[in-house]
């Protein structure tokens, strides 16, 4: 996927206050050694987290359940008080000046928190008025955003009558109405159908072209890979790695893959796996479909070989090895590792 070059991030954003005395550009988000300890908790929810998001960047925070993503977003949006470290939004310290920080950020939370006493459009109007947007302007903005979020016919709807996807879109509209510098999306597409998910992805891409900085949390790898300029993988409240999705995948040992579909002809799948693992260059072999299905029911087994050299050069040896053992090959294709592989490699397979 084409990634934008760093210089593009600053289009239309060249105000003087963006430059620090050292000549360094103020980051949209800067987090340093952030720690959050919830009272009565045995461990830190965020434990020495550091990262930096440039202006106009779309940054993905990736991590398993309980990694501390929502807590981090909560601190950056001033809803959660940090225990130690610093967090700044456009140079404003969220702990020292939360009021100023609040006018720079917007958040679409993991759970619906729309105002049930108001209808859909009123939610936007009152939110805008809290942020000091004048009456005629907020009316025009509300109309435009409702249309853009595909909610034009829902303006009088009660919040309880909206579907999950509609509520989500309304929260995005609400977040955008006060023109935040940084938009936080906490799991923007959890619980959405594919259409709604694509719709939200398109809107996030619109924001990119408008120069809005976006920080999104997700455990959907495909989403992170598709939307983010850079991804940070978090676990146990710590940043494991930060890079572009492409670079992360490339850095994975055994980042190339070969997918094979074979009919074991009597061999159990462990035997096959063992055979293939012996080929030089093959790092490990996995059965993505799961090998726990009974052999009779699934005469064909799917295998994924992770290799640490150019995968194309191993096609021959793999085919030969299978042929020598009378294992029928019905499909053999090249693949590449996905962000999911990176994720599992970094955070392990244990359930949280």
């Amino acid at each position: 996927m084409a990634r934008r070059v760093a210089g593009e991030h600053h289009r239309g954003h060249n105000r003087d206050d963006e430059f620090l005395p050292g000549g360094r550009v103020t980051a949209a988000v800067e987090v340093a050694d952030l720690v959050k300890h919830y009272p009565k908790s045995t461990h830190n929810a965020v434990d020495g987290l550091s990262f930096r998001v440039e202006r106009g960047e779309i940054f993905g925070l990736l991590g398993p359940n309980g990694a501390g993503k929502t807590t981090t977003v909560g601190i950056l949006t001033t809803r959660i008080v940090l225990t130690a470290g610093t967090a700044t939004i456009g140079g404003v310290d969220v702990a020292r000046d939360p009021v100023a920080a609040r006018s720079k950020v917007a958040v679409v939370p993991q759970r619906v928190n729309l105002d049930r006493s108001l209808n859909a459009r009123q939610n936007l109007l009152f939110h805008a008025s809290y942020h000091g947007i004048g009456r005629s302007e907020r009316r025009a903005l509300a109309t435009r955003l409702m249309e853009r979020m595909g909610l034009a016919d829902k303006s009088k709807a009660r919040i309880d009558d909206l579907s999950g996807g509609q509520a989500q879109r309304l929260m995005i509209a609400r977040a955008l109405i006060h023109r935040p510098e940084v938009l936080f999306l906490d799991e923007p597409s959890t619980g959405l159908d594919p259409q709604a998910r694509l719709f939200v992805h398109d809107r996030v891409n619109d924001l990119r072209s408008e120069g809005v900085t976006v920080v999104l949390t997700t455990h959907d790898m495909e989403e992170a890979e598709k939307l983010s300029d850079r991804v940070g993988v978090v676990d146990h409240g710590r940043m494991l790695t930060v890079d572009t999705p492409t670079a992360l995948i490339r850095s994975l040992p055994g980042s190339g893959t070969i997918d094979a579909r074979v009919r074991p002809n009597g061999f159990d799948s462990e035997k096959v796996t063992g055979l293939l693992s012996d080929i030089p260059g093959v790092q490990r072999v996995e059965t993505p479909g799961g090998s726990d299905a009974p052999e009779e029911a699934a005469p064909e087994t799917e295998l994924r070989l992770y290799v640490d050299c150019e995968p194309g050069s191993l096609l021959g040896p793999v085919a030969a090895k299978l042929h020598d053992n009378d294992i029928t090959v019905s499909d053999l294709s090249l693949g590449s590792a996905s962000l999911e592989d990176v994720f599992i490699e970094l955070t392990g397979r244990d359930l949280r």
Partner: protein, 261 residues
């Protein structure tokens, strides 16, 4: 004035405007909530029991200032605490306002102030209703300004106590709130009896002295019916101001604890 202060003030009015807007739309249910109980009390104790001869003539006169006081304090308390308990529960509706560009303390103050406004409104409504129901009232009108001052302070104290209770009570306990907090407050607030005449029932008099409502009732009754034995006005004033400060501080503290993780 700095830009942040200015935008905070603007946000404060907008947040207050939201509550006024929502109340305006729910006027009928608000009126029912506010009026049914005191009107019923006034009717039974002031009218029915009087006509049946179970209460002395003049009791209705003692009751009316107490009912106005009760409404100012209790409606303010309920209208601050109940919505707050819900706001902080699963719906987290208040989050949008906690993320508005104003200090969280101001949001707490707004909640309190708005509850007080509703209490004041409910208390004011009792004036015409009482006059209509009881026919004649023998008030000393020179005491009216002090009575109104007590009523305003009563609403404010109601708001501060409501903030404290609303931020302290977890959502799943909301149903016992009425039994253990509101009912005792209704009946120990000297709104149905003059506190100064309780000397035969000393322990109850002492209990009542802990209820801020007592000072609202006594202050109003003393000002409007100076012949009825009553507490000294300066005691009422001092107690109400003290309660305002104590519960205001406590309420804001609890609110902050609930609003921020």
């Amino acid at each position: 004035m700095s830009g942040t202060t200015q935008s905070s003030i603007r946000a404060f009015w907008a947040v207050l405007g939201r509550d006024v807007f929502v109340t305006g739309r729910e006027m009928p249910s608000f009126l029912a909530q506010v009026l049914v109980q005191p009107v019923a009390l006034l009717f039974i104790f002031g009218k029915v029991l009087g006509q049946l001869g179970y209460t002395q003539p003049g009791y209705a006169q003692i009751l009316l200032p107490g009912m106005i006081a009760l409404n100012s304090f209790l409606v303010a308390l309920q209208n601050t605490s109940f919505p707050l308990v819900l706001d902080f529960s699963f719906s987290r509706e208040i989050e949008d306002r906690l993320l508005a560009p104003l200090p969280i303390t101001w949001v707490a103050v707004e909640k309190m102030l708005f509850g007080a406004l509703r209490g004041l409104f409910a208390a004011l409504l009792m004036f015409p209703i009482g006059l209509l129901m009881l026919g004649n009232v023998a008030w000393d009108l020179s005491g009216l300004p002090f009575a109104v001052l007590c009523m305003v302070l009563g609403s404010l104290v109601g708001g501060t106590v409501g903030l404290t209770v609303g931020a302290a009570v977890p959502p799943r306990r909301i149903n016992i709130m009425f039994a253990v907090i509101l009912a005792p407050l209704i009946f120990t607030g000297a709104s149905q009896f003059p506190w100064a005449q309780l000397d035969q029932l000393r322990w109850f008099q002492i209990v009542c002295a802990f209820n801020p409502l007592t000072y609202v009732s006594e202050g109003m009754r003393g000002a409007l019916l100076p012949d009825v034995p009553h507490m000294a006005p300066w005691v009422c004033l001092l107690a109400l101001l003290g309660a305002c400060v104590i519960f205001g501080a406590l309420g804001i503290k609890f609110f902050l604890r609930r609003a921020l993780d």
